[in-house]
Symmetry: C2
Subunit: 342 residues, 2 copies
DNA sequence: TTGAAAGCGCTAACAA
DNA sequence: TTGTTAGCGCTTTCAA
């Protein structure tokens, strides 16, 4: 397994390395005679030539690698889809992605930036695994793209989910089914989720557009996990005038809401309609009945970020790009039960 | 933002680039006077020198990058932990990981291998997101490490979960609680999951060691998702002599088993004990009661693979390394209900 | 104790 | 139409 260099190809084809370089890279190829080109290609094939990207990078000052710094890739099921989106675009463009996981540690971020800078990556993407507002780490290149997070100070290309529109879509689905008493099972404020406020705003907007007076009793908060959703849903179901539908901050809370409904002898969706958020495969699709929910566009955001990073697409650095969150219609929504007195 | 080269540091310190190189890399540093070293360091600091890894790589023939080819990073919640493990070791060793996702497409694999080879990565890891036996792709370097898969022909360093031992641990937990009628909710054979056979073998071994005659009626198969688990569990609960415990192929099937139990008015774990497999955070920990399960050691396997790849650890290429699957004890196991006639 | 110089493998002016 | 040559920024032998 000896490494074969361009000089070996040149020698075999009886030309200079310059000619080999031009032929193989298709540069100035009109200026080189077809028979020479042919000869070069055959020689390259014969000796099994593979270009050395490191040498090329040193010469051209571009590496065809892009660095992707993520705050924590380990602990979320969404990371994969984001990476996949970024990766697909990179591959289409003949680029490779260098991944660094920093666990949100400032020192690790600094090191990662150094390393990527040293490796002369052509672009950098800074990704978060939960939508949030971040302080841009010092040393992050000016043209870095932020993925699933927005810079506290603005001024950077960034892409985040359009949570407010997602909230609207979710609640409209419920309104369209005929619901008027729609609860919002929100995350507690201490988690400082930017999605929480935005989804709530979407909820309020749709109530307003449907002429429904928001009832503060129907906006409850809990820990955004199944247990929290269960407790919140129970409180709601104990209300004198219980809601006929629940919009949950996420699918895990929705899972808890299912449990609460069963506990109260209620059937989903006949007695209670539920819409989640996130479209977590392992939860939403596996619930019984399958959960209608709003998907987070991680794959698309990953693609978008890579496209901007590689200059395939322009981004307005002043305002984060809002990626639509599509409704995934499954089986947890139906018209409200008919009430006496209606 | 002009790039500063080693020559700039040399000029400022009034030495040659050779000296700068030696000082900054700590090579032959005993041979260079302390005051010169000091001067070099100050100069480097003053001009903000950052070494160019590309140039260094060209010269030294090593890039401090390792390629990680994964079959599909997008669609599994486990990928992250594997990547995290590999990444942590890489970082500890001053290496970077270059990630390529091939979606299990042979052509994409070929391209990826080319690209990584061109970038002169120091090592490559070939990772699967589900434990399986694979045909090693042509062109995979001899010293590549296989992660969560074993080579069909053998002969490569590889690491996989110890599924059989995991099955044993799961069933022993049930036996220790006093169960004798223990069902195994297995995946259907058409999915060709190597884990299926191994976990079943573990199950049988423990029955044997406990002197329990395996009842074929208690080994049922279904699609390894919640719906499949629910159906399989219902069939089991309809048996004249129903099992008091179920070991499920995975957490999703266990989720279905919970549903079936509720449906039959049975309480977990009072009337029915359940153990899962995988420790999927979003499922196992969120179930009510939380599910006792066996964890897949993805983080550890990721670490192991990277350690071998970087030569920190020796591997026997003849037999895949078996990584233990720990029991995660939660609340879905208790002694069997007291029976009349006992 | 330090410096000169020769490349690593490739690209791209400039010459021929 | 093709070849010569000068680097890209760094490491490392050898000489001083």
């Amino acid at each position: 397994m000896v490494r074969v260099r361009m000089a070996d190809v040149a020698a075999r084809a009886g030309v200079s390395t310059a000619t080999v370089s031009m032929v193989l890279n298709g540069v100035n190829s009109t200026r080189i005679s077809p028979q020479t080109q042919q000869r070069v290609r055959e020689a390259a094939e014969a000796v099994g030539y593979k270009p050395n990207s490191v040498a090329r990078s040193l010469r051209t000052q571009q590496t065809r690698m892009v660095g992707l710094i993520s705050d924590t890739i380990a602990s979320t099921p969404f990371a994969g889809r984001m990476l996949a989106g970024a990766n697909d675009v990179a591959r289409e463009q003949g680029h490779l992605v260098v991944l660094v996981d920093t666990e949100r540690d400032a020192e690790a971020e600094r090191q990662a930036l150094h390393a990527l800078n040293g490796q002369q990556v052509d672009a950098v993407i800074y990704a978060c695994m939960w939508h949030r507002v971040v302080e841009v780490p010092p040393g992050l290149p000016e043209d870095a793209v932020l993925l699933d997070c927005a810079p506290a100070g603005g001024g950077r290309a960034a892409v985040v989910p359009d949570e407010r529109a997602g909230g609207r879509v979710a609640v409209r689905e419920l309104v369209a089914a005929g619901h008027r008493r729609i609860a919002f099972l929100d995350a507690e404020e201490r988690f400082e989720l930017v999605a929480s406020r935005l989804r709530y705003e979407g909820y309020l907007e749709v109530l307003a557009e449907a002429g429904i007076e928001p009832d503060p009793a129907l906006h409850v908060r809990a820990e955004p996990v199944a247990g929290g959703g269960r407790d919140a849903a129970r409180r709601l179901l104990d209300l004198p005038e219980r809601p006929t539908a629940m919009f949950c901050f996420n699918d895990r809370m929705a899972m808890g809401a299912y449990a609460a409904a069963h506990h109260c002898g209620l059937s989903v969706p006949r007695d209670l309609s539920i819409v989640g958020y996130d479209d977590q495969q392992l939860v939403a699709a596996e619930l019984d009945p399958p959960l209608t929910t709003i998907a987070l566009p991680h794959y698309e955001m990953g693609r978008w970020a890579m496209e901007v990073a590689l200059g395939l697409r322009q981004a307005d650095p002043e305002v984060p790009h809002l990626m639509p969150c599509p409704l995934i219609r499954r089986a947890s929504v139906s018209p409200p039960p008919t009430q006496f007195g209606d």
